[in-house]
């Protein structure tokens, strides 16, 4: 039996698969890729939101290697998740629609551009403000934002002007007075403060009231009040409480 005859004999015992199977498979892959892209955009946006609102690059005066310390407070779990999602998206879309003909770098850049555009559109639409109102999402923002980490997210700094029990009044370098509420029964922060001390405060701001998580005295050699990297968008996460 010649090779052609063998092949003909083999295929005569079967039928081609129907077209709808492959069309369905293609549509399923496209839908999966679209869903993964949307999830990646949301995570990418959360990372951007957390970095811009939690200010990982704020200076930590008197702290050696403050930049490396601030890197530890980045939302690494989310960054890893976005990386894994991008890899999955790349693998799924690469074989679809002849994208493998393009250079892999172009495909990766394309994915990142889509994520960036999606993030900007979500920001403009206020998606994160809406998402953050849901309890599970709120928890993610706070956990990933490392809000309870000491030295994280300077709210303000200034000079202690008055002390009244658990409340202290601090005036910042711009002359604004802040009422700082601390719970000295639950922690030791603020117990050794006195009028005239220069302090840094980490906490939640509401109007001119701050619920402090931590207050630290500023070393004598500190040069001045720090500013967040993105001062115009560095709003504190008061709406999460």
């Amino acid at each position: 039996m010649s090779l052609e005859e063998k092949i003909s004999a083999k295929i005569s015992q079967t039928e081609p698969k129907p077209k709808w199977e492959f069309v369905g498979e293609g549509i399923a892959k496209d839908i999966l890729a679209a869903v993964l892209i949307i999830v990646a955009i949301i995570l990418f946006g959360i990372i951007g939101y957390i970095i811009s609102h939690f200010g990982p690059w704020e200076r930590l005066p008197g702290q050696p290697f403050y930049f490396w310390h601030s890197l530890l407070t980045l939302p690494w779990e989310m960054i890893l998740s976005v990386g894994v999602l991008c890899a999955l998206i790349y693998l799924i879309i690469r074989k679809a629609h002849f994208l493998y003909r393009l250079s892999p770098i172009i495909i990766v850049v394309g994915i990142l551009v889509i994520l960036g555009l999606g993030h900007l559109i979500a920001e403009a639409a206020g998606a994160h403000e809406t998402i953050a109102r849901f309890a599970p999402a709120k928890k993610i923002y706070l956990t990933q934002g490392r809000i309870l980490s000491p030295n994280r997210g300077l709210v303000t700094s200034g000079t202690v002007k008055a002390i009244d029990g658990d409340d202290i009044t601090v005036m910042d370098v711009y002359g604004k007075k802040w009422q700082v509420e601390i719970n000295t029964t639950k922690s030791t922060i603020g117990k050794d403060l006195k009028v005239g001390d220069k302090v840094m405060i980490n906490g939640i701001k509401s109007g001119n009231i701050i619920k402090a998580f931590i207050i630290k005295k500023i070393p004598a050699n500190w040069r001045g009040q720090t500013r967040a990297l993105f001062p115009k968008i560095s709003r504190r996460i008061t709406h999460l409480y």
Binding site: L3, E4, K6, I7, S8, K10, I11, S12, T14, P16, K17, P18, K19, E21, F22, K95, F98, Y100, R101, L102, S103, P104
Partner: protein, 189 residues
């Protein structure tokens, strides 16, 4: 009046309605696919078995063929995948072992010697090609033996078009290095 030769793509499209059309495709490509696979995996009988498997899969999946690529590229892609799976299964811990008959087929065509620069000894080339890794051998196979374009090679191997040229260059460099080592060995002995 010249008879219009039906293209491979037209035959593939008609296969769903008329099975006999596929036999024409088998007639056109069976020997080519067998030779291609044989030069990759090194065995004639195994190549024949894999060729049957290739056409069986092509027939079953004919509805998935996208006319935006050439039918031959699609078919060669199936053959490539089958060859790779075969090599992974059978040669995981050793190099591909070639039948003598397959080795001879590597240099039957004198023009191939001209295309692979400065080759004068067909025996040395044969040995060089046999000792190449399957990936390099395959791309030289597609480029020089099958005379596929860069786009066709990209579709067969599912790589970017821009990377085909550099991949061919690297395969040629590896082959040249092997041939130079063999020439050196022969000179010393």
């Amino acid at each position: 009046m010249r008879k219009h030769k039906i293209s491979d793509e037209e035959l593939a499209a008609f296969t769903l309605k008329d099975k006999e059309r596929f036999n024409e495709l088998v007639h056109r490509y069976a020997n080519k696919i067998r030779s291609y696979i044989a030069r990759i995996i090194g065995g004639w009988q195994e190549a024949e078995d894999l060729t049957q498997e290739v056409f069986f899969k092509a027939y079953r999946h004919i509805a998935s063929f996208n006319p935006n690529m050439k039918f031959s590229s699609w078919l060669y892609r199936i053959a490539h995948n089958e060859s790779v799976n075969y090599i992974k299964k059978h040669y995981r811990y050793k190099t591909v072992e070639f039948d003598e008959g397959i080795k001879n087929k590597f240099t039957d065509d004198e023009s191939i010697l001209e295309k692979i620069d400065n080759q004068i000894d067909s025996q040395i080339i044969k040995m060089g090609l046999v000792e190449l890794d399957p990936r390099s051998r395959e791309i030289l196979e597609l480029s020089f033996y099958e005379e596929k374009s860069y786009l066709e090679i990209a579709d067969i191997l599912e790589i970017s078009v821009n990377s085909v040229g550099p991949t061919i260059m690297r395969a040629k460099e590896r082959l040249k290095r092997i041939i130079e080592e063999k020439n050196e060995f022969r000179r010393k002995n």
